[in-house]
Each structure stands twice: as structure tokens, then as C-alpha cells.
């Protein structure tokens, strides 16, 4: 996971604090301070050039992409231009669908692994909730015979 921090809000006068960095404690995370919005520019450039790219419903501030999560499949390669993400959404706190997309990508068999251009993620994996049934809706023993 790549965490790209960038100054967006008026209070973002310096790089992320130790406390902010500690919020992403997993050792697999690489953290970057992108003061010049270089990654956001790359992403915006890709969004403009690629009509088929997933379009986030949020978030831009002063024309800069932020508070978004992007998911790239195993075969994505970044050459001149940022590759197409299979998922891009924000704000992050509400973009929990990214976990489903990651799970789908991870559990695809190697043989059927789609390319980034073909992948069409489902919007979400349905969650089945088991709740205590309302007793009045349950058939009684006599009806069941």
C-alpha cells in the first residue's frame, strides 16, 4: 500500500506528523509526502485521458485530487502514464468498497486473472446478515406437518 500525503487543507502546513503516520502502522505500507501534488497530477492526467477510467464521485479541492483510494491489479505497470485503476473512490472513510475489490483481485485464480483493462469489479460483495427472525413470521410446527 502506498500512502501519499499531500497538503490540501489550510492546516496542512507541514509533512504528516508521527501521529498521523502511525495511523497506517502496517509494515507493508510505504508513506510519501507529496508537497507538490505530483501523484495527484498524474492521476488527474489519467482521468482526463481515459474515458473508461473509474471516475470518483469525490474529492477535489482547488482542482487537486485528494482523499481518494485507488486499487491497481497485479498486472498494472506504470510507464509514462499512471495505469488504469480498477477502483477509484473517495472520500476514503466511505470508500470501503475498495476492500471488496482487493479481495476479488486476490482470490481470482491465476488462470482467469483479468488485465487491468478488462477488470470490471462488482460494486460490492453482498453481506448476508443472520438476524434473529421475527417469531410471528416463522411457520409453526403444525404448518410444517
Amino acid at each position: 500500500m502506498f500512502a501519499v500525503w499531500e497538503p490540501i487543507l489550510p492546516t496542512d502546513y507541514s509533512s504528516p506528523s508521527t501521529g498521523a503516520l502511525a495511523r497506517l502502522a502496517d509494515p507493508r505500507v510505504s508513506q510519501y509526502w507529496d508537497k507538490n501534488h505530483l501523484f495527484a497530477e498524474q492521476l488527474a492526467s489519467r482521468l482526463t485521458a481515459d474515458a473508461g477510467h473509474p471516475q470518483p464521485s469525490c474529492c477535489k479541492r482547488h482542482g487537486i485530487q485528494w482523499d481518494e483510494v485507488a486499487v491497481y491489479p497485479q498486472d498494472a505497470h506504470w510507464d509514462g502514464q499512471l495505469p488504469r485503476a480498477v477502483y477509484l473512490e473517495g472520500p476514503i472513510v466511505h470508500a470501503l468498497g475498495f476492500a471488496n475489490v482487493v479481495a476479488e483481485l486476490l482470490f481470482k485464480s491465476v488462470d482467469s486473472k483479468p488485465t487491468s483493462e478488462e477488470f470490471q469489479p462488482t460494486r460490492s460483495i453482498p453481506l448476508v446478515l443472520f438476524t434473529q427472525a421475527d417469531a410471528s413470521t416463522l411457520p409453526n410446527a403444525a404448518e410444517l406437518g
Binding site: 509533512s15 502511525a22 508513506q31 509526502w33 482523499d67 491497481y72
Partner: protein, 150 residues
Amino acid sequence: MSSWKTTAASLGAMVTSLLTLGCCLPLPFLGAAGLAGASVFLSAARPWLLAFSVILLGVGVFQVYRGMKCRAQQSRIALVLLGLEAALVILLMLFPQVLAGLLADVSSQPRVPAGQLSLSILTPENFDQLRTAFNQASGDVRVVLLLSPT
């Protein structure tokens, strides 16, 4: 007469307010001050220190109020200190982590959690390091987060 009392109360409240941050400051900072181990103590004492700050703030306000009632000339320095102290106490009560983070960052470079590479500062010249890291992880699903520090 009441001026120095207001000033003393304000300074006392400031000191106790700042002491409440002790638990969040990096240990080297505390060590330099000869306060090794104080973070644990200060963490536990934070509510008491804040309460003491509020009491001292109240004493300061009372001194000013009494001075006004007696039409005594208030020291400008004492009033400024009292205002600053009130703002500081309120900020410390509402945003202790933010202020502790600011002080911690002033005294040291931001540190990433254990096991991670150090924070990379991207510039147009070294931006390729992100691209390289991205491509090196080819074969894995990659997630990129765009975040604001605050």
C-alpha cells in the same frame, strides 16, 4: 500588588497545561530535560494537571476582576498572559493530541511506524522513486491512498 499574582497564576497555569503534554512528547525530549519516565507519570496526572490549570486560570480571572472592582490599574502584561493562558488551556483541553504532535514534530523528524521505510519526500526530481516502488510491487494488488495530514 494583584498584577504579579495574576501573572504568577497565568504562568503557573501555562506550565501545568504544558506538563499535560508530557505523555505525548518523544522520550528523547523528556530525557534531555532529565525527566526520564515522566511520560507515564504525566499521562496519569493529566486530568489533575488540567484541573490545576483551570483553578489557576480562575485565580487569575479573579485577580483581574477584583482589580477592576477596586479600579486598580491592571498590568498589560498580566492581562496578555492571562488571555494567552486561557487560550492555551482551552486548546489543550480540546486538542491535546494535535498540540502534542506539533511539539513533537518541532523537536524531531516525523517517524514512520516500525518496519516501514522512512517517509519519502517526493520532488519532481525524485518522483520516479514512487513509480519504481509501484512497479517493483508488480504481481501484487496495489492500493494508493491520497491523504491530507490533518
